[in-house]
């Protein structure tokens, strides 16, 4: 690996952005509205979650995340995007990919590969690693790969305490040989995967989750994937190697428990040492996830955005990244961020957009749920009632947004508003 003090070079993330909707609800409102035990909010470590609108779907979430990245490229740079990989557990068709719509609405070159990848919340990291390998291979000089993680929430009262933690939105990650956001440590990764049914989406309108199975799988995978990382990277040490950590964040409380587990296993740390380390190395990555919820495939990149936007970055900092997806597959990898990463990411104004979201009441939220649950259900024809979301959309007028207008003969049709 390179020294953390070296300048950014190599291959990695050139640009990063997240789109987390334009509506939100305080987590406490869902607890109270569903008569859940508010005593559990503390361990959940969640304050708000993003809520989708009936005119939003995995395509709009992906495009609204990626367009600010694309708009900053000149025509030559845009044409250099040779692969578009969409990672999602919210497919809109068994055959036609979300990527086909996203490619069209981003106006990417027709000389571009399109693909959709699925492995629950992990797939975006598999896509990023394949993109890094493609770019680094030199097979096509100057090539860029755009990875977009995008999902929608299907959570309602059927999933109990998972409902207040689910988010919605997308994360766009542009991979190239100009890693202005994060250079990925080449060859520094560890994976761990096995078959389990911890959570899944067996149909287009519902999720299933076995909470214990899922949390335990996440924690086992973190230990095992880091062990695999440590076998590949000489001298790797969970405490000393990484200035910061960014983990897949289904809810903040799980990340805190995962960090505590690793600090005990790897360093026999005391409770006080664990807390100090958590506040210093992990907490910056949780600021956005704790007000957005589980972004699913994009979750770990939301955590990375949060870290870069809020952590003090002096010189180079090495970040340990853990990505987990139910089913299950996981990976621990690392990269180098720099103080300049923060100024590049700041152009996306992520914190300002999160602060601008329209705060819904529990009643407004439940009124949206029925329509939101139709988002992925195959329907031959359906017109979206944009008027029902007018007041919320009006708050986002300063942003150019893609919205779903209609499904006609199974074809999804969109408008910019």
């Amino acid at each position: 690996m390179t020294s953390a003090a070296e300048n950014m070079h190599g291959t990695g993330i050139e640009a990063l952005n997240v789109y987390c909707g334009i509506a939100s609800i305080p987590v406490r409102s869902i607890f109270e509205g569903r008569s859940l035990d508010v005593g559990r909010i503390g361990n959940l470590m969640m304050e708000q979650r993003s809520i989708g609108l009936p005119c939003e779907d995995p395509v709009t979430n992906a495009v609204n995340a990626a367009m600010p990245v694309i708009e900053r490229l000149n025509p030559e740079e845009k044409a250099a995007i040779e692969i578009l990989i969409i990672s999602s557990e919210s497919g809109v068709d068994y055959s036609k990919s979300i990527a086909s719509y996203v490619h069209e609405h981003l106006g990417l070159s027709r000389e571009c590969r399109l693909i959709e990848a699925k492995q629950a919340c992990y797939a975006a990291t598999a896509a990023v690693q394949m993109a890094v390998a493609y770019v680094a291979s030199g097979i096509s000089q100057g090539a860029k790969v755009l990875v977009v993680a995008t999902d929608v929430s299907l959570a309602d009262d059927r999933v109990g305490y998972a409902e207040p933690a689910m988010g919605t939105g997308g994360a766009a990650i542009l991979v190239s040989a100009q890693p202005s956001i994060m250079s990925v440590d080449f060859g520094a990764f560890g994976s761990y995967s096995y078959e389990t049914l911890d959570s899944a989406r067996p149909g287009p309108a519902f999720d299933i989750v076995d909470t214990d199975k899922s949390l335990f799988a996440y924690l086992d995978c973190l230990s095992r994937s880091f062990e695999n990382y440590a076998r590949r990277v000489e001298g790797a040490d969970f405490v000393a190697t990484f200035d910061y950590l960014a983990f897949h964040t289904p809810f903040g409380g799980l990340v805190k428990a995962a960090h505590r587990k690793m600090m005990r296993e790897c360093a026999k740390a005391s409770a006080e040492q664990v807390e100090e380390d958590f506040v210093r190395r992990v907490k910056p990555s949780l600021i956005y996830p704790c007000i957005v919820g589980n972004l699913c495939s994009g979750s770990v990149y939301l955590a990375l955005s949060s870290l870069i936007d809020t952590a003090p970055l002096n010189g180079g900092s090495r970040v340990g990244v853990f990505s987990y997806g139910s089913g299950c597959s996981s990976e621990f990898f690392s990269g180098l961020i720099h103080h300049s990463s923060a100024s590049v990411l700041a152009e996306m104004r992520i914190a300002a957009h999160l602060g601008d979201r329209c705060v819904l009441t529990f009643e407004q939220y439940t009124q949206l749920l029925a329509d939101n649950l139709r988002c992925l259900v195959p329907e031959k024809n359906r017109r979206i009632d944009l008027a029902s979301s007018d007041k919320i959309l009006a708050r986002a007028r300063a942003r150019r947004m893609l919205v779903l207008r209609e499904i006609r003969d199974y074809h999804r049709e969109y408008d910019w508003v």
Partner: protein
Amino acid sequence: MDREDIAGIVYKTIAKILPVPPGEISGEKHIRDLGADSVDRVEIILSLIDQLKIHEPLASFAEIKNINGLVELLYERKRL
């Protein structure tokens, strides 16, 4: 270490992490029934693995039916 020793450690650990009177803890209950949320459950299992110095994937604990089942699993692994 026999089953009773393991059960003693399990009951003591649960009582330390959950705000329940020790009298309410019984083998037929799941720790979920005692008000343990998912983070509490993780903490209880990790604490037990740590105290008993066993090496067992957490996934093995996902299927346990109640505290008796937890004691039995820990006892079996400790014997190995």
